[in-house]
């Protein structure tokens, strides 16, 4: 059956602000779904409260509603658009499903005659209600772990008595494992049970007998309305059961499954998907496999929607799950659709990989002081990276190189942990850096069997680690002059960075690089093509590797490279790497617009990024996608291969920006604001000289490198003093101190974490109002795209503040100062592109806190609030294609827009939830209000007083 012609207008629900457990993967899936529906001429209506998303761009849907995700908003939309035929709730994560269920319970869909497509409510209810799910599984003969439901404290105690410990408690209807915990000891049970019951919106928990050490797998399925089911990807969690899959290191394809066990799992997954309801769309199923000769398979859960794992599976295989799932929801059958990569074969097939992907989560525990840092059933990571390689080892190395945690990969960087007790502790209570610690444990000589016994990680993975270490040991017996080509090639094939090899050989990174050139050990690029090269692929989605040579019949010998360089003028956009607090989806939004704008200017666009959750790594965005670490070595090799006109660094956050210096040093052109200007803005001394020359006030400050110096400076500056390290992200390590003891403690603390850092001490303008402005500058003219006033007083990180656009109580005099300062600074810094400036306002005098000549977190928000494509404009200015005066700016906003921060504190217990100069929010939403009489504004504003009274 072709598509259902009854469907002409469809409502899509987004996932709202980014929280732990629900990140920008849903912007990726939502964007794909919208484009997919549009291809079929469907009218699309979108609701999402997150402004920093591509999906909420005006061009994406026919009608975009930036409204809170509530049934009230749904009713408003359905009233304005009575033509809506159906709602597709599977693209916006659990948030969208929950909203869909709520609307269904209230009878809203029925009232407006709206069908639910892509899933059925019964399926959601069955999969979310663990008791019902369990009953169903047992009925269809799918084994599950011993489990029971408790809706009361007493019942919970009874179950624990029956099962014995260890146990797992999971709260029903929650996200990212909130309220879930492992209970090893009876004495912990009461507290954890109570917490689970509290977290669950229906006060229900499931208690499972823990499957300690069982191996964990996921399958991604697609099913059409003709009941055809295909498996898109198998994913193996290197970390066994007990660590949330979002916090696990995962590998695709599954590495340690025999065909017999895999096919049994496949049959079970298909059977499960068919049993939960009659719907067409995507589905994720999780399994546990017993680590013994029986290889028993137990079902853990099933999610009848597009998920974080399906985004990963899409990037891992090249098969665009959300795009196809949207088509299936329309009624298409899989065999009527094309493989989007080969464009010649059928979408009804199962992708096969000739490479390995490794996903590693990115944590931000430093932002949650006091939190429990061990990994467990509750997801705690804020982002993730994916490495693609021709072996597990290479992929693992590339993923570790993508993390941006100042590591060069596994081992061989002088940062190894050599403390036996600490290593055992970190292996036992899985730590965020366990991926590195395993290597250190092997280096220390701890037997693999012992590591396996502690971690339960499959021996195959551990042996892969061991092989790496043995190779490191072998290489370390050579010097740069004695190492042979074969060994160097092997090291590169296993993913070691030049820096690591230099460390092993005792030489410079550049010497290793030169040696590689000499030997012809060069990166080649391979395609992600869904089919292991069985068919020619049309999609330019590349990853790098090192290969053995081939030789043609006429004697030409080379390593095969599939990335053919065109003679078009090109530009590279550097992505922002893994999401983290302070650098999230906003920068991916900017990168995507940078790419699209550069294409409009006639450039061939090249995207480099390693974050699988993003829209920027969708192969449909740039002309060429290199899914590679945003790590010097990989970037430089791509630049050498592609020879672009230049590189855009100002859209990819701090990740891309901090590469500007090295790029400049190597003679690569930075498109837009130059490195010198970026550096000038970052260097507090030089920057304040610039301000002084331009008669712009700034809070008194000084620079300290020791606690003594800091103390002397404090005498001059006067308390309170804002202390912060230089070159950090999201206000990391920033603190306001009010006396010398606090100052000394914090300075000592910072210097021990970041030796040699120059600490900035500012006089803190107590009770000041904070404001910020974003502008576009072409070096001659400056256009201020937006000025925002923070509702919270100065001292709360701008990312954690509620920002009002336009300001609500700044006088003309103040506004004029902001405008004048912004223009002066933008020009003085020779900005070409975007700039963000933050202000403190006290006694009607505007001080400069900082200036960042790059895309900021607020640019997407302003663009959405005013309905103007500012990143597009800025990119054209950067490329020299347009001048500021060429644009016809026409911002449209009635009333005010408020950027509201969203936190994920519920994932961490006992953490300090107090806001301060260090950013803690994970996401944001936009709220439009007509006037200052709005209740929500009134409430926010009253909170300001609370801060001031502190």
């Amino acid at each position: 059956m072709p598509k259902n012609s009854q469907l002409k207008s469809i409502l899509i629900i987004g996932s709202g602000p980014i929280v732990i457990g629900q990140a920008c993967e849903f912007d990726y899936s939502g964007t794909q779904a919208l484009r997919s529906l549009k291809e079929d001429g469907i009218e699309t209506i979108l609701i999402n409260s997150n402004p920093a998303t591509i999906m909420t761009d005006p061009a994406m849907a026919d009608h975009v509603y930036l409204l809170p995700l509530t049934t009230k908003s749904i009713i408003k939309i359905l009233k304005e658009h009575p033509q809506i035929d159906a709602v597709l709730p599977t693209m916006g994560g659990q948030t969208a499903l929950n909203l869909c269920i709520e609307a269904d319970e209230k009878g809203i869909w029925k009232d407006f005659n709206v069908a639910i497509i892509g899933v059925d409510i019964d399926a959601i209810n069955i999969t979310e209600d663990r008791e019902k799910f369990r009953e169903l599984m047992l009925k269809i003969g799918i084994p599950m772990a011993p489990q029971a439901t408790a809706t009361s404290y007493l019942k919970g105690k009874e179950i624990a008595q029956e099962f014995g410990f260890p146990l797992i408690i999971r709260a029903s209807f929650t996200l990212g494992g909130a309220g879930a915990s492992f209970v090893h000891r009876e004495e912990d049970f009461d507290e954890l049970l109570t917490r689970g019951l509290e977290v669950s919106p229906i006060h229900e928990v499931m208690i499972d007998k823990a499957l300690i050490g069982w191996k964990e797998y996921e399958l991604e399925l697609l099913r059409d309305s003709n009941d055809n089911v295909v498996i898109i990807c198998s994913i193996e969690n290197m970390d066994p059961i007990g660590i949330h899959t979002g916090d696990s290191i995962t590998v695709a394809p599954a590495m340690t499954l025999s065909d017999r066990t895999y096919q049994k799992m496949r049959d079970m997954a298909i059977h499960m998907m068919r049993s939960i309801g009659d719907f067409a769309g995507g589905c994720n199923v999780q399994f546990a496999v017993s680590p013994d000769e029986k290889e028993d398979i137990i079902a853990i859960e099933i999610n009848p929607r597009v998920s974080r794992s399906s985004a990963l599976a899409s990037k891992a295989t090249g098969y665009p799950i959300a795009k196809i799932a949207a088509k299936l929801a329309l009624g298409y059958h899989l065999d009527e659709l094309q493989n989007q990569i080969t464009k010649s074969t059928s979408a009804l097939f199962e992708p096969t990989l000739d490479y390995v992907i490794v996903k590693i989560p990115r944590w931000n525990f430093d932002k949650f002081e006091g939190s429990d840092r061990t990994l467990g059933l509750q997801m705690k990571s804020v982002g993730e990276v994916m490495g693609i390689g021709r072996s597990f080892q290479e992929a693992l190395h590339k993923a570790t190189q993508s993390l941006e945690i100042k590591r060069n990969g596994l081992g061989a960087d002088g940062k190894e942990n050599k403390d036996y007790n600490q290593i055992i502790e970190k292996l036992t209570n899985a730590s965020w850096d366990r991926v590195f610690i395993i290597y250190d444990a092997i280096a220390m000589g701890i037997p693999l069997s012992r590591i396996h016994e502690i971690t339960k990680i499959d021996m195959w993975f551990l042996k892969q680690y061991e092989e790496l270490f043995l190779l490191q040991k072998e290489i370390s017996t050579y010097k740069i002059d004695t190492i042979q080509k074969d060994l160097l090639l092997e090291a590169k094939q296993k993913g070691y960075g030049d820096r690591q090899i230099a460390h092993m050989l005792g030489c410079l990174e550049s010497q290793v690089y030169n040696k590689r050139e000499e030997f012809g050990v060069n990166r080649v690029y391979k395609l992600v093509d869904t089919c292991a090269a069985e068919f020619k692929a049309q999609t330019p989605y590349y990853y790098s590797t090192f290969e053995s040579d081939m030789e043609t019949a006429d004697g030409k010998r080379y390593a095969d490279n599939e990335s053919v360089v065109t003679d078009k003028k090109k530009v590279i956009v550097l992505g922002s790497g893994p999401n983290r607090i302070g650098q999230g989806i906003e920068f991916d939004y900017c990168c995507v617009h940078g790419v699209l704008a550069a294409a409009e200017c006639g450039y061939e666009t090249i995207m480099i990024n390693c974050n699988p959750e993003t829209v920027s790594t969708d192969f449909d965005i740039a002309d060429k996608l290199y899914f590679e670490p945003v790590f010097w070595e990989h970037i430089y090799d791509i630049i050498k291969h592609e020879k672009p006109e230049g590189v855009i660094v100002q859209l990819g956050g701090q990740t891309a920006l901090k590469l500007a210096e090295k790029l400049t040093k190597y003679g690569v052109k930075i498109i837009g604001t130059s490195f010198e200007s970026l550096d000038l803005a970052e260097d507090r001394g030089h920057f304040s000289n610039l301000l002084k020359e331009n008669n712009i006030p700034y809070p008194q400050f000084d620079i300290a490198t020791t606690a003594d110096e800091a103390s002397a400076i404090a005498d001059v500056l006067d308390f309170p003093i804002l202390v912060r390290p230089s070159y950090v992200l999201g206000g990391q390590g920033m603190k306001i101190v009010i006396n010398k003891q606090d100052l000394e403690k914090h300075v000592v603390d910072l210097l021990s974490q970041m030796p040699g850092n120059q600490l900035l001490l500012d006089h803190y303008l107590e009770g000041a109002i904070e404001a910020e402005a974003d502008a576009i500058c072409d070096g001659e003219d400056v256009y201020i795209i937006g000025i925002m006033e923070h509702i919270e007083p100065c001292g709360i990180h701008s990312g954690d503040s509620n920002a009002m656009l336009p300001p609500f109580n700044l006088g003309d005099l103040v506004m004029q100062q902001i405008k004048d300062h912004t223009k002066k600074i933008a020009l003085a810094l020779n900005t070409v592109g975007l700039i963000n400036i933050q202000f403190a306002i006290k006694d009607d005098l505007v001080y400069i806190i900082e200036a960042n000549p790059r895309a900021s977190r607020t640019v997407p928000f302003i663009a959405k609030a005013y309905g103007e494509p500012y990143v597009n404009y800025a990119t054209k200015v950067m490329l020299g294609d347009k001048k500021v005066k060429d644009f016809n700016f026409n911002p449209q906003l009635q009333g005010y827009a408020i950027k509201q921060p969203v936190f994920s504190f519920d994932k961490f217990h006992n953490v300090n939830k107090k806001l301060g100069p260090e950013m803690k929010s994970t996401g944001e939403s936009i709220l439009f209000i007509d006037s200052l009489k709005d209740d929500e504004f009134y409430e926010l504003y009253s909170r300001r007083k609370m801060y001031l009274n502190k």
Binding site: N226, L257, D259, Q263, D335, S346, M459, A533
Partner: protein, 367 residues
């Protein structure tokens, strides 16, 4: 444990192209055959022991091979049937509780030459663009000219009869002799899992050598007849074609898989041809034209049935097609109790989507 340096090895294609790699283990020497690739991500042991691969140098596209060792039960015949293995990363170290040894020792036991660290992706692209061809894998990296001469003597797969090399010499029985049904199976390279699948459905099987006559099979008084999968070109298998004609003439229940399917086509006067690079993998989409449903199937064939001729044939119905290239994936005879598929419903390795075909065979027997 110590770092192991591996000796060099090469693959030399008939057209003179060379791919460099390393020898697996310590084995020396050369192995000749037609180079083909399999895209499955699981089931290497089943592939290596599948008689249909007789005489072929197997390129496995999966990044790692050998991860879970070998298991004595997960075999499709009593020995390795491929002529040599070409892979990217070879797992000397494996991990599986339920395993009986490493892949390396299994290859050694079968005296099979294998080469790893090859850019298998470049090799697969090359075969895709230039077609399947003969090749040699060798540790004699300095004897290219000598290898070229030897390679020239290797016969072309087109027109090559190989079933006799893998078929049983003597008839044998499989399953429970008290089972309800009796099936006579012609072994032109039969996979064990076909026997397991038929036996599981309450049938007792007698397996006959490739050159068995209809009278031999008939003497078993079978309720149904089966023509197996197997290696090589179906055309030279004249005895099997004659056998098929005899069975069809009497309208006895007949089921053919892969090579058996091609034999049935030939018995009906429909020709077969050698494909550019064949279908080998466990992700092949097939559409059942009778039900309109899709199946993900296990496939392994380098020859196919001419679709135009099959469609023009008055007594043949094309029941299944391959969704990627629209080649014939299944046939049925309109007036006879006979059907066949080009793919492998017994899976092993591969998905179980098509196991209903064995049920259908039993239903046909009951008719």
């Amino acid at each position: 444990m110590k770092y192991q340096k591996r000796q060099k090895a090469i693959i030399l294609l008939a057209d003179g192209t060379i791919f460099y790699g390393k020898a697996v283990g310590n084995k020396q020497g050369s192995a000749f055959g037609e180079v083909c690739f399999n895209t499955g991500m699981t089931g290497y042991q089943e592939i290596f022991t599948d008689p249909s691969y007789y005489g072929q140098l197997m390129v496995t596209t999966n990044a790692h091979i050998g991860n879970y060792g070998v298991n004595d039960e997960e075999i499709e015949s009593d020995s390795i049937k491929i002529a040599g293995l070409i892979c990217k990363n070879f797992s000397y170290e494996y991990s599986r509780i339920d395993s009986d040894g490493s892949l390396e020792s299994f290859l050694d036991k079968n005296n099979l030459l294998a080469i790893s660290d090859v850019d298998t992706r470049a090799l697969v692209s090359y075969i895709r663009d230039n077609g399947a061809m003969n090749a040699v894998i060798s540790t004699e990296v300095d004897n290219i000219e000598g290898l070229k001469k030897q390679l020239a003597d290797v016969p072309d797969m087109n027109g090559l009869e190989l079933a006799s090399k893998v078929s049983t010499k003597e008839p044998y029985y499989f399953g429970n002799e008290n089972a309800t049904y009796k099936v006579a199976a012609l072994d032109i390279g039969i996979k064990k899992n076909i026997l397991r699948n038929i036996a599981k459905r309450d049938a007792y099987i007698k397996v006959f050598p490739y050159n068995a006559k209809f009278e031999d099979l008939e003497a078993f008084k079978p309720d149904g007849y089966f023509l197996s999968n197997g290696p090589g070109d179906p055309e030279p298998l004249v005895e099997a074609q004659t056998l098929a004609k005899e069975i069809i003439k009497r309208d006895l229940p007949l089921f053919g898989i892969c090579l058996g399917h091609q034999i049935i086509a030939l018995a009906n006067g429909v020709s077969t041809y050698k494909m550019h690079n064949g279908h080998r993998g466990i992700n092949h989409p097939v559409k059942n034209l009778r039900t309109g449903k899709g199946e993900i199937t296990s496939q392994n064939h380098g020859f196919a049935v001419n679709r135009e001729e099959a469609e023009a044939h008055p007594d043949l119905e094309v029941t299944h097609v391959h969704l990627n290239d629209h080649t014939v994936a299944g046939l049925a005879m309109k007036s006879k109790n006979c059907f066949s598929v080009q793919y492998h419903p017994e899976a092993s390795p591969g998905p179980h989507d098509a196991s209903y075909l064995f049920d259908q065979f039993i239903e046909n027997i009951k008719k």
